[in-house]
């Protein structure tokens, strides 16, 4: 069979018999739509073969995490597709890049890195992607709608799109998201299908005071705890007695997608596919049931901190990218104050959100405080930190989870107010009043 040979080395025997391709799929694979589309389709079909799906399906949007510059290979991949003339077939937003395009010179980013990362930014724009440069695309015009079939990369964005909005996406890794965008096709499988979206693990909140539930630090801590236990399953959270704000749900999703691989979660009475517990589980029984207690939350909170002492070099906020609402929350905490000269203070955000914050007068207090904003990227994806930075403090579970490995720094997790207070004092300060046993 012709298509079998086109799939190349490494196709499991029998693949060409199980994967049913449409006429257009075959045209793409044959190169009728150009060599770039052919390469994207070839990769997509081989990956579909690994998971044994029967057919591909259409998508109407994509979010591309492949924009991250990781080195020679990701750049060569992007430039190969672009030079072969590949163009996205659906509206496609871009995740963070490897460099703050206009602000990198304010930081010790090596010029060679900046040049390569910028080439990668250009390659994805050449393919027709929209230069959104954010890991929180769901807070921009790129926000999908309920039920929309999309191919999204970036773990926090995937979890938010599925859980909070009710859009339909699988967990698309770098390299595959762009192939889906170019072909407009994805394997018909996983979370694209309603029947696979029911909850698996039930997490019951037990005696969690509303004072904790209202606190911003609750959501990253809860997410860290749940992600660690549920791993790649679909958790259902029951017993929340407050209505969380969008940015709190953003923090929850980012945390579950860091300590676990959560692509979809339900919160009974809050998220769109969970008006009731029965709806969240689509009529099935939970496979496992866990009680979330204050003791469990305290342990999870402690795990997000790796530093034992009070030493502090930098506060970093904004993973996922800071929203206008978060800038609005931060600004009053900063007014009339100034960071300690030994502690840097950074907010990572998108161009659009930082411009909106500037228009709203929310960046002036930050500048007066001695803080900075970086856009397009984040501290995990561009080498912007001075080597002297040994201990970070953050209110983000994602920054807390990844910093020790990626940046080789110690990290302290605290609330937004804790982070500001610590930056002023020049040493770690955490208000424990909500958390003491």
């Amino acid at each position: 069979m012709d298509s079998g040979r086109q799939l190349g080395v490494g196709v499991p025997a029998g693949l060409e018999m199980t994967l049913e391709l449409s006429a257009r799929d075959r045209e793409l694979l044959a190169g009728d739509h150009g060599p770039g589309a052919r390469l994207a389709m070839s990769i997509l079909v081989r990956v579909a073969g690994v998971t044994g799906v029967e057919r591909l399906m259409d998508i109407t949007g994509a979010h591309i995490d492949s924009s991250l510059y990781m080195g020679d290979a990701t750049l060569a991949f992007a430039e190969r597709l672009a030079s072969l003339g590949a163009k996205v077939a659906v509206p496609s937003s871009l995740n963070v890049s490897g460099v703050d395009e206009h602000g990198w010179k304010d930081w010790p980013v090596p010029p060679a890195w900046a040049a390569s990362a910028h080439r990668q930014m250009v390659a994805y724009q050449t393919m027709g992607c929209t230069p959104t440069w954010t890991c929180a695309p769901y807070q921009t015009k790129a926000r999908p709608v309920f039920g929309q079939q999309i191919a999204w990369g970036e773990s926090n964005a995937i979890c938010f799109a599925n859980s909070v909005i009710g859009a339909r996406t699988e967990r698309y890794p770098d390299l595959l998201d762009i192939c889906a965008a170019i072909t407009g096709r994805v394997p018909e499988a996983g979370l694209h299908l309603d029947t696979n979206r029911g909850g698996q693990d039930l997490f019951r909140l037990r005696d969690i005071p509303e004072s904790i539930q209202r606190d911003d630090a609750f959501y990253p801590v809860l997410g860290h705890l749940i992600g660690k236990i549920t791993q790649e399953r679909i958790p259902v959270i029951e017993g929340l007695t407050v209505v969380p704000a969008e940015d709190q749900l953003k923090a929850l999703c980012a945390a579950t997608a860091s300590s676990g691989a959560v692509a979809l979660l339900h919160i009974v009475g809050v998220t769109p596919e969970a008006p009731t517990k029965e709806a969240a589980f689509r009529g099935a029984n939970p496979e496992r049931i866990f009680d979330v207690t204050m003791d469990g939350l305290r342990a999870a909170r402690a795990e997000l901190t790796t530093s034992a002492g009070a030493a502090l070099d930098m506060v970093v906020l904004g993973s996922p990218h800071f929203s206008v609402a978060e800038f609005r929350q931060l600004a009053p905490l900063l007014v009339g104050r100034r960071r300690h000269p030994n502690v840097e203070f950074l907010v990572t955000s998108s161009r659009i959100m930082s411009l909106l914050a500037q228009d709203a007068g929310l960046l002036e207090p930050l500048e007066a405080f001695g803080g900075k904003v970086t856009v397009d990227t984040c501290v995990l994806t561009t080498p912007m930190l001075r080597p002297e930075i040994k201990t970070l403090m953050t209110n983000s579970a994602k920054y807390a989870y990844y910093s020790p490995g990626l940046l080789r720094t110690a990290v302290v997790f605290g609330s937004l107010a804790d982070c500001v207070e610590s930056a002023v004092l020049g040493r770690v300060f955490r208000d424990e009043s909500l958390w003491v046993a």
Binding site: G10, V50, T51, G71, D72, E154, L175, A261, G405
Partner: protein
């Protein structure tokens, strides 16, 4: 000759080396140093081990969607494991290996085995992965 396990071919190829085995999933982003092949997730049991040149046996990858990109970088740079064994297919690692094959001609052999067979794998044992999915286990 030692024991032979029959696995499912995920990406066909031949590769051999000492086994490096873990029962915990690994995020390659923040967990794998593409320049050295060291496992750098300080919360992972294999933290500090060099996986380059080994036959890395792990249940699955995990975490951020950037795992595939890091694995692609390692495959191109020659710091990837000589072969990978997972429990069931891992589409994130498979993707990276497929792209490494399509774009650079440097696919990493990958085989999926059952949980029971995975339990037979011991760190330090020599393993030879064949293009047909067979894994031959030698002496330590």
């Amino acid at each position: 000759m030692g024991r032979v396990i029959r696995g499912e071919v995920i990406v066909a190829g031949a590769g051999s080396g000492p086994l490096l085995v873990t029962d915990q999933a690994l995020s390659f982003w923040g967990g794998y140093d593409q320049l050295t092949g060291e496992i750098i997730d300080r919360r992972h049991p294999l933290s500090g081990q060099i996986a380059a040149g080994t036959v890395l046996a792990l249940p699955a990858s995990r975490g951020s969607s950037t795992t595939s990109a890091v694995f692609l970088e390692a495959a191109k740079a020659g710091t990837a494991p000589a072969a990978i064994i997972t429990i069931g297919p891992d589409r994130f690692l498979a993707l990276a290996s497929i792209v490494a094959d399509e774009v650079f001609g440097k696919g990493i052999p990958m085989v999926a085995v059952s949980a029971a067979d995975f339990g037979l794998l011991v760190t330090g044992t020599m393993a030879v992965v064949s293009p047909d999915g067979r894994v031959e286990l030698g002496s330590t």
